[in-house]
């Protein structure tokens, strides 16, 4: 059996598992899915913006500065615990919590994207075509981001679940799949926990299978970037 067929065959499993969330109610799942989509889109958009900025700024002379920017940026983001950072953004800007989660995860993904650009632009490494035109730049960013999509989705779900479980904010907020998962864990609702676990597992698995064949040179930075 060809590898592509195998992947399709394997994809059938996540699709089946993902359906488990719908046992908890179509409306609930649809709302949670919509929020998840918003969060992931926001995070990827932020990462893409930072990635494009890095490609535009990546010159041999600026590489050291880019690396420093990433390191210091991570230090600043990581100094405050992630859940606290999300809660602070949500409280101080009155943004919905899922949006705050998307922003934080997006910034971290963007910093990784910058690091990938800085690494691949370093001397001695085969450099991708620089952003002389829009299509090339888009392809470069796409190649840098595509393998990171499963990680970003897992991080969004993980951080949101942690927020819901830790109970930093009132229980009135609603969010994506992570919020449902965290709340199920917090309440000890076994059925809901199993359903959302199966669904999130399926989603992560499906995405990983889809990006399995992602081009290698831009895939660095996806390792060990999962959420909680």
């Amino acid at each position: 059996m060809k590898a592509s067929r195998r992947v399709v065959a394997y994809l059938a499993i996540p699709v089946t598992l993902a359906a488990s969330a719908f046992r908890l109610g179509t409306k609930t799942t649809a709302l949670a899915s919509a929020w998840l989509l918003v969060e992931v889109s926001l995070a990827l958009a932020l990462a893409a913006v930072l990635g494009i900025a890095a490609i535009l700024a990546a010159r041999p002379k600026t590489l050291a500065y880019l690396n420093q920017f990433v390191s210091r940026g991570i230090e600043l983001v990581a100094a405050l615990p992630l859940v606290l950072l999300c809660a602070l953004i949500a409280v101080s800007t009155a943004l919905p919590i899922p949006v705050a989660v998307g922003i934080v995860v997006g910034v971290l993904a963007g910093l990784r994207c910058i690091r990938v650009v800085a690494t691949t632009a370093s001397p001695g490494h085969e450099r991708p075509p620089q952003g002389s035109n829009w299509t090339t730049m888009r392809q470069n960013v796409g190649r840098a981001l595509r393998p990171a999509v499963p990680a970003v989705v897992e991080q969004v779900i993980g951080v949101e679940a942690a927020l819901a479980w830790l109970g930093l904010l009132d229980r009135t907020w609603i969010g994506g799949w992570g919020e449902r998962l965290g709340r199920a864990a917090s309440d000890g609702a076994v059925t809901a926990l199993v359903c959302w676990t199966l669904s999130t597992t399926a989603l992560a698995l499906g995405l990983k299978l889809l990006v399995w064949r992602a081009p290698a040179p831009f895939a660095e930075g996806t390792a060990g970037t999962r959420g909680t």
Binding site: Q68, P81, L82, G158, A161, A185, V190, L205, E220, R226
Partner: protein, 480 residues
């Protein structure tokens, strides 16, 4: 040695930068806007009206009195009178000479408003004053008699005598100086080591309470610890309000631009009072140290377990070929969310203290780490130079960053530790963080930030010392 010192200096500078930015974010969120105006009895930064990072016009006693005189010359207001009473006798050396410049009605009115102060200071004849015009004459007369005594050295000597001997007469003398004696009184508060010190503190605190109207006393059967806590409370309050009762000039005025800010006050609080207390009056350092140790045990225990799993997997992958089905099953396992794994482990009954929590952390972090050593990890396809690894390094050195951060990023692993603590009911930093945020406790939140930032920077220092060849201060795999 020089290199180490340079690294340490750089580390301190970065810690400072992180703390400044974190403070800016946290203080904006935790600031409590009181409808009743500024609370002058508070020792909390959340309730102050100080600027966050820079104070272009630090308001000392002189500038406060000048502003009050200006306002009082225009109209009479209850709030101004109350403010004068609060500033007390400390304001008299500045205020009384200025009264001459005011219109007759205005200065008579101010003197009349100051009359309760004269009664508080037990000045003779204060009860006999019957009209505003008489009040002004009374103050001029009394000040002519006493102005020479209003010298810091004179007051300091009386306070020393009070601290040494106690007694009603000395108390009465110091009370006559009112708020002018505050710096000397706070400075004379002893470092309590014995019951004698407790008695000494008691006589000083009685005067402080009478002058300020604040009710932080030590009880009759007070122990040494209670006395220390109360003195610490007074000293923290004084730190925040000292400039309201004293005047700055020369270089002090310039330094006040930085120290008379919320961040400046917090830095002093952190260094001199060990981060102060929580809103529930618990000492922060002890609270955070106890919680931090549990979290650190989880972090290190979990990372050690994950490192063992990583080594095992590496060895296994060298000697055995894995099929696609095996890869797929590993991929399925890797896709299970950490939250679910922790929840399942908690549900099956692993909720008995720190040992069980470390086991859960080992499992969860090892699960998190699997991805970094799985064949789908494309970093293996990259040249060693791009991953920041030196291939000539011994294997255990190559694996070190994985051990330190278990192949994942610091923010996410810290979040995972918080979740584990919550699931197993452990009072670690996660619980601390949640409580602090719910209560909008700036002092505790900043202490937590300091701890997490220090961990982060120290870990980075360790990684750097093992990877001196790294161009970047932070190795790639440390955060990725």
């Amino acid at each position: 040695m020089r290199r180490l010192l340079r690294r340490l200096a750089w580390l301190i500078m970065r810690l400072f930068l992180i703390l400044v930015l974190s403070f800016f974010v946290l203080s904006s969120t935790t600031h409590s806007q009181s409808l009743l105006g500024t609370d002058f009895s508070t020792d909390r930064l959340e309730a102050t009206e100080l600027p966050i990072l820079f104070n272009s016009h630090p308001a000392d006693l002189a500038s406060r009195v000048n502003a009050l005189v200006m306002r009082l010359s225009r109209e009479r207001a209850e709030s101004e009178s109350q403010e004068l009473m609060r500033l007390g006798a400390a304001s008299l050396p500045i205020l009384l000479p200025r009264l001459d410049a005011l219109p007759i009605e205005a200065r008579a009115r101010v003197a009349w408003d100051l009359l309760p102060l004269a009664k508080r200071m037990t000045w003779r004849g204060a009860d006999d004053v019957s009209s505003p015009a008489h009040a002004y004459a009374y103050f001029v007369e009394m000040w002519r008699e006493r102005a020479v005594d209003y010298q810091p050295t004179v007051v300091g000597r009386w306070v020393e005598r009070l601290a040494a001997r106690g007694g009603g007469a000395l108390t009465q003398t110091v009370v006559e100086f009112d708020t002018y004696a505050l710096p000397a009184l706070i400075g004379a508060l002893p470092d309590v080591k014995s019951q004698t010190d407790v008695e000494r503190a008691r006589s000083l605190l009685n005067v402080l309470r009478r002058i300020t109207g604040l009710d932080w006393a030590i009880s009759a059967q007070c122990g040494i610890n209670e006395a220390r806590t109360t003195i610490d409370h007074w000293q923290r309050w004084w730190h925040l309000h000292a400039l309201e009762f004293t005047t700055v000039s020369g270089p002090s005025r310039w330094s006040a631009m930085l120290t008379q800010t919320q961040f400046g006050q917090w830095t002093a609080l952190a260094l001199q009072h060990r981060f102060g207390t929580t809103k529930e009056h618990r000492p922060i350092l002890e609270h955070v140290a106890s919680a931090g140790l549990k979290s650190l045990a989880l972090l290190l225990g979990g990372a050690a377990g994950a490192f063992a799993v990583a080594l095992f997997k590496r060895l296994r992958s060298r000697y055995s070929h894995r099929s696609l089905t095996s890869h797929f099953s590993c991929l399925v396992f890797m896709s299970v969310p950490q939250t679910s794994i922790v929840a399942c482990l908690a549900l099956v009954g692993l909720n008995h203290g720190i040992a069980a929590a470390v086991v859960v952390a080992c499992i969860a972090i090892a699960h998190l780490d699997l991805e970094s050593i799985h064949p789908v990890d494309n970093t293996s396809a990259l040249p060693a130079s791009t991953t920041g690894r030196d291939i000539s390094e011994p294997r255990h050195r190559q694996a070190l960053p994985n051990w330190l951060f278990a192949g994942t990023s610091w923010p996410f692993i810290l979040t995972l530790i918080f979740v584990i603590e919550q699931a197993l009911g452990l009072q670690g930093l996660g619980r601390c963080c949640v409580d602090a945020f719910r209560q909008r406790d700036l002092h505790l939140l900043m202490a937590l930030t300091t701890v997490t930032a220090l961990w982060l920077l120290l870990l980075e220092l360790v990684v750097q010392s093992y990877h001196p060849s790294q161009h970047s201060p932070i190795p790639l795999e440390t955060f990725e």
